[in-house]
Symmetry: C2
């Protein structure tokens, strides 16, 4: 039986703005090699910090039968730049990295849970699509249950008063609650779950471009939008900044997802358009972090979607 | 392949206090028929209110492919008294019903998600255990995904500022965050997920009494403890009251779960002990609501676990 190995879509709406204004020549669109060399360590450092935070949080403790596979599946899943973007957006608006760490970790855990359920050992690779390279240490029962354990644990990281490095939310519980709404929607009915639903729904239309775009937007774009908006909320951004960063995340995440499927001129065109749209949203932001965050689309090979 | 149709356990610890004091004769242990007639409508009214709240919250809206099965699975799952107990505990400590409604709904959704994953149409009923009576309207892909959508939606109900009847959290965001930690643990690694893990782990020991007790405590007891503690937190209870109600919920939920397996003298003895322990925790509470809440163990046939 195949789970998820097809792509389909109803009620498709392109997310592209129709009245796009061309960005000015002072936009962060130009990205020389020297700038890339400066940005790479930034993303690597964020990823290492999120990993450290997760390792301290998901220690293997009783009940070991639960926490051992939870620890394994949390780190077996590929990293998502949606987590890193959460931290980068927080820093872009002047927040501290620590303010975004629990949210970045929660985003990774929800992404890891979806990855585990998309690749359950019972069903993984039996469909018509390409065979994924996923190594399974546990049986289907345990991987199903562990996915179910990761999602509430992600919310717990955000909600708890004490994190692995001390007080987790010294202030602003309203911001935390707002970010929880963002993450629950992006990880659920308005994002990943919708994307996987469409992907599972119809087996015959996996080559249709607009279906591919919809699925990648829902699976990757919405979670990146959530990551960017959440980081901005936690960093104390103004509403306008939050919305610009949300749009940046939507375009950047969809684009980075589509990079996996770069197999037609239509998709390559879409990737170019999304890159322009994404960079356009960064106009109005200033400082060295603009260059850092824009490298997510200027050089998408930096890390996986 | 069988998912969940066996019961097993390692590291078993009985939750029973060793220095139990016998309750005084003024305890709410005596439960005449007239009192039962008074309490039944109370639980029915709570259940109807939670249902109404859920129906207003999970409307079928775009994407319909997501919300239609979500609506279906949320109401196809049997109701849990853990939700009703959340409301009753809030009222017992002097809170308003509305303060506990989102938490009660979230508890039901997490219970419904676990129920959906425990009874996926792929695997349901193929194990050695009794065949469950679950009607499936959707295929395994959709029921797996829908379960994944229900959990974050439960957290969203708690986190969002506006509920179906207006402002959802007029104040006390700290109480909401605390309840989220309660619910994430009970629905995850410290409760349902641990219980199902143990149940899935070993196929050969399903008749061993202590395994049965552990699994029912984790599957039902911990979520009832969470419901009672959450209701008390939201109703503004003192810490001591919260802990007493948490214990009441643990004993009451485990006992109500074990009622399903009332097939040995050992289990019947345990049920009697748990009932005494539960009622003992209510000493110190006063007013008509003590009678109402104690009916959960005094007359467990009132509603399902």
């Amino acid at each position: 039986m195949a789970i998820y190995h097809s792509i389909s879509l109803h009620n498709f709406t392109l997310p592209i703005k129709t009245n796009l204004t061309r960005p000015s020549s002072s936009s962060p669109r130009r990205f020389p090699a020297a700038a890339l060399a400066r940005t790479e360590p930034y993303w690597a450092a964020i990823e290492a910090d999120v990993d450290t935070y997760l390792k301290k949080s998901i220690t293997i403790r009783p009940p070991e039968a639960v926490f051992e596979p939870m620890h394994h599946l949390a780190f077996a899943a590929p990293r998502t730049t949606a987590s890193a973007l959460c931290v980068a957006a927080c820093e872009l608006v002047g927040g501290d990295r620590g303010q975004a760490m629990a949210a970045a970790a929660a985003i990774h855990l929800i992404h890891a849970a979806a990855h585990a359920h998309e690749h359950l050992p019972l069903t993984d690779g039996s469909g018509p699509g390409p065979k994924p390279q996923v190594r399974h240490r546990f049986g289907p029962n345990i991987e199903l249950l562990t996915g179910d354990g990761l999602v509430p644990f992600g919310f717990e990281l955000l909600a708890r008063p004490i994190g692995p490095d001390g007080p987790a939310r010294p202030d602003h519980p309203d911001r935390i609650l707002r970010v929880m709404v963002e993450i629950s929607r992006a990880g659920g009915s308005e994002g990943i779950v919708d994307g996987l639903h469409k992907q599972a729904e119809i087996l015959d239309e996996c080559s249709r471009f607009e279906f591919i775009e919809y699925v990648f937007r829902k699976k990757y774009g919405v979670m990146h939008a959530c990551g960017a908006a959440s980081g901005a909320i936690l960093g104390g951004a103004a509403e306008e900044e939050i919305e610009k960063l949300r749009n940046f995340g939507l375009y950047a995440g969809t684009m980075r997802g589509l990079m996996e499927k770069k197999n037609s001129g239509e998709i390559e065109n879409m990737i170019r358009k999304l890159k322009d749209l994404a960079l356009n949203e960064l106009e109005g932001f200033h400082g060295k972090n603009v260059e850092l965050i824009s490298s997510l689309v200027a050089e998408p090979s930096l890390c996986a979607a």
